[in-house]
């Protein structure tokens, strides 16, 4: 049975132009650009948690922001329930759509307005979307949203300000704010990386139950492969603005097909002192995204690179059922 597609990215590209001095703009013919995201396409199905993993600077966050139209793509389209949202130019039309697409940011110390009370923070999306008629209803909805995140009793939190809360509580407020509209699609950009270990797992648990309850589709962006494995149904591994490999989480972790995925998994420390780890074979760091290497972008660090990799860019092809890899010599 084919699953319904919630959101689809088609050939998304985002290039950020680099600021240059006045004289340089006169001399140079072309403005150099950072190739943040370079022609990626993928689908997220209804009710699915899709993870994007990769090192910093690989374009995961930019992709996430483009999916909900917070960053305008240089080219390419995003379809939300079959509707091309990149073509929507009027803000008021976009605002209607925002009811169904929300984002949870990485840093709860930055993403909550310090001058707004918790009640107003969580109520703001409801007010903007005109979802409630009476103030009692608004109050009820906010209280329910807070309770969903174990912030009970809600009255105790509603009248506080963000600075009175701990990091974990703040992030839960940010999650409550995103879920209060019951959106169909959510983006979470490293939602727990700023939190302490003991709080982290609790927030993740709450997030998983909420996703299940609201049947939302979810894009989970993280650099932590082990965490992605815990959270996601399907994974996309990104490298320098491209998707290197995409497939169901367990298949990808158990038997990676792209050398980069293999290296990324091998690099994750294992909480078991008796297990022998595979040595990291790849050297160096991610090359600059201003002049990405020709051919396969990973060839400069790939231990298996051959001549063809340096000239010809591999396509993202389906090599096994559901598994797509962009490599000339998949493992």
């Amino acid at each position: 049975m084919p699953k319904d597609v919630a959101i689809e990215a088609r050939n998304l590209v985002k290039h950020f132009p680099i600021k240059m001095g006045f004289f340089k703009t006169l001399i140079s013919k072309q403005t150099p650009v950072v190739h943040a995201v370079d022609d990626i396409s993928f689908k997220i199905y209804k009710g699915e948690i899709f993870g994007l993993v990769g090192e910093s600077g690989c374009g995961k966050t930019t992709t996430g922001r483009m999916l909900i139209n917070l960053t305008e793509p240089t080219s390419g389209e995003v379809f939300f329930n079959g509707l091309n949202i990149t073509a929507i130019s009027q803000e008021h039309k976009m605002r209607k759509l925002r009811k169904n697409m929300q984002i949870i940011f990485q840093d709860p110390y930055e993403s909550l307005n310090p001058r707004m009370g918790i009640f107003d923070i969580v109520a703001e999306p409801l007010r903007l979307q005109k979802m409630t008629k009476t103030s009692e209803e608004l109050r009820e909805k906010v209280a329910a949203a807070l309770e969903d995140l174990d912030l009970a009793p809600p009255e105790e939190f509603m009248y506080r300000f963000p600075h009175e809360l701990s990091g974990g509580q703040r992030q839960r407020i940010a999650i409550a704010r995103a879920f209060v509209l019951r959106p169909e699609f959510l983006v979470a950009d490293e939602p727990v990386s700023m939190l302490d270990v003991s709080i982290r797992s609790e927030v993740l648990k709450l997030l998983l139950t909420l996703i299940e309850k609201s049947h939302s589709s979810f894009l989970y962006i993280t650099h932590d492969v082990a965490l992605a494995r815990h959270m996601c149904d399907r994974l996309g591994v990104m490298y320098l603005g491209k998707i290197a490999e995409m497939g169901p989480t367990e298949d990808l972790i158990r038997k990676p097909s792209h050398p980069y995925t293999e290296a990324l998994i091998a690099a994750v420390p294992v909480p078991d002192p008796t297990s022998r780890r595979i040595e990291v074979t790849i050297k160096g760091e991610v090359p600059s995204a201003i002049n990405p290497p020709p051919g396969c972008r990973f060839h400069t660090r790939c231990p298996y690179a051959k001549k063809i990799c340096t000239v010809e860019e591999p396509e993202l092809k389906e090599i096994k059922k559901d598994i797509r890899v962009a490599c000339h010599f998949p493992l």
Binding site: A226, V268, P271, V280
Partner: protein
């Protein structure tokens, strides 16, 4: 043979509202060529312990009692001058948290490493420069890069420069405070590899401070789990990871998702770490412990060897 032996160390911060018991009765030892990991949540006293060892403390900190024996010297008692001349950098050096961002932006790498060497050793500038390039090669950076400025280096390289700098005066031990938190996984694995190699090549001892237990499993032989200023479990990594005793350790180990093995539920610890101004009576973990008994509320469990030799835990569950 132990190199550093910390016994019953207590360090409190004096504040207007009373003493903050940041390090409370902490004992552990670091062997020659050994690596000890200090783990725990933020605010549990890991960094304070490290700063106490080098006595790099703010004015309101007070070492209440305890000893830190290193080569027959008690670091808690020796004079400031002796500590500065003989211990810091030469015996123990430290890589601070976020040190890679503390490199001076307008001096090149070579100048910064030689500054450390020249301040502590009586050698000429050219000798110091030569030593600096050797150090860089040791941590896997080409010696030509000695004239580079910090902004020309990537995060992983800066972390290695800082590691090289810590090695400047041939210390016997390095204390590394969260050395890889800001780095990407692959770069983190590279830095850890360098650390392990150094331990082997130079007979170095390490104290690794981190909240990530898997880093300790990868690099250390022994580990101390800290909670609210106290060590709750201490022993060699294998027995702690394979057979953890303290409820806190158990939860901490299973709070991390793993890349190997089957997918399992993550455990979470409800509540928050206690305020160290007035920590709870009895066992400090009892308000958050799901196995807490009556005795836990009143009596503080001592750190004792329980089921196997060399595996210490402070918990009433395993008898007095």
């Amino acid at each position: 043979m132990s190199l550093l032996k910390v016994e019953n160390l207590k360090m409190y911060y004096k504040t207007l509202r009373g003493y903050v018991k940041a390090v409370d009765d902490v004992s552990f030892d670091v062997g020659k060529k050994g690596a000890v990991g200090l783990a725990g949540e933020s605010g549990c006293g890991k960094t304070s312990t490290a700063l106490t060892i080098l006595r790099l403390l703010p004015w309101n900190a007070e070492i209440i009692s305890g000893s830190m024996m290193l080569d027959g010297m008690d670091l808690a008692k020796i004079s400031d001058r002796k500590l500065r001349k003989e211990v810091r950098w030469k015996k123990i050096s430290m890589i601070f948290q976020g040190a890679m961002n503390a490199l001076h932006p307008i001096y090149n790498v070579g100048q910064q490493i030689t500054e450390a060497i020249l301040a502590h050793e009586d050698i000429s500038k050219s000798e110091a420069l030569e030593r600096a390039s050797e150090l860089l090669e040791l941590v896997g950076i080409e010696a030509e890069k000695i004239n580079r400025y910090p902004h020309e280096l990537s995060g992983g390289m800066k972390q290695r420069v800082v590691t090289a700098m810590a090695l400047a005066c041939n210390p016997a031990m390095i204390i590394a405070d969260e050395p890889t938190t800001a780095l990407d996984v692959i770069v983190q694995a590279q830095v850890l590899k360098v650390m392990k190699e150094l331990q082997r090549k130079l007979d170095l001892s390490w104290i690794l401070i981190t909240h990530d237990l898997s880093l300790i499993a990868e690099t250390c032989q022994k580990t101390a789990i800290m909670y609210a200023g106290k060590i709750v479990e201490y022993g060699d990594v294998v027995s702690i990871f394979k057979a953890p005793l303290h409820p806190y350790t158990k939860k901490l180990i299973t709070a991390f998702p793993s890349i190997v093995g089957s997918r399992r539920e993550l455990s979470s610890i409800s509540g928050f770490p206690p305020d160290l101004l007035s920590p709870p009576q009895g066992c400090r973990f009892h308000p958050r412990c799901d196995q807490a008994m009556q005795i836990c509320k009143t009596e503080e469990p001592p750190l004792k060897e329980k089921t196997s030799k060399g595996h210490y835990t402070a918990c009433h569950l395993y008898g007095g």
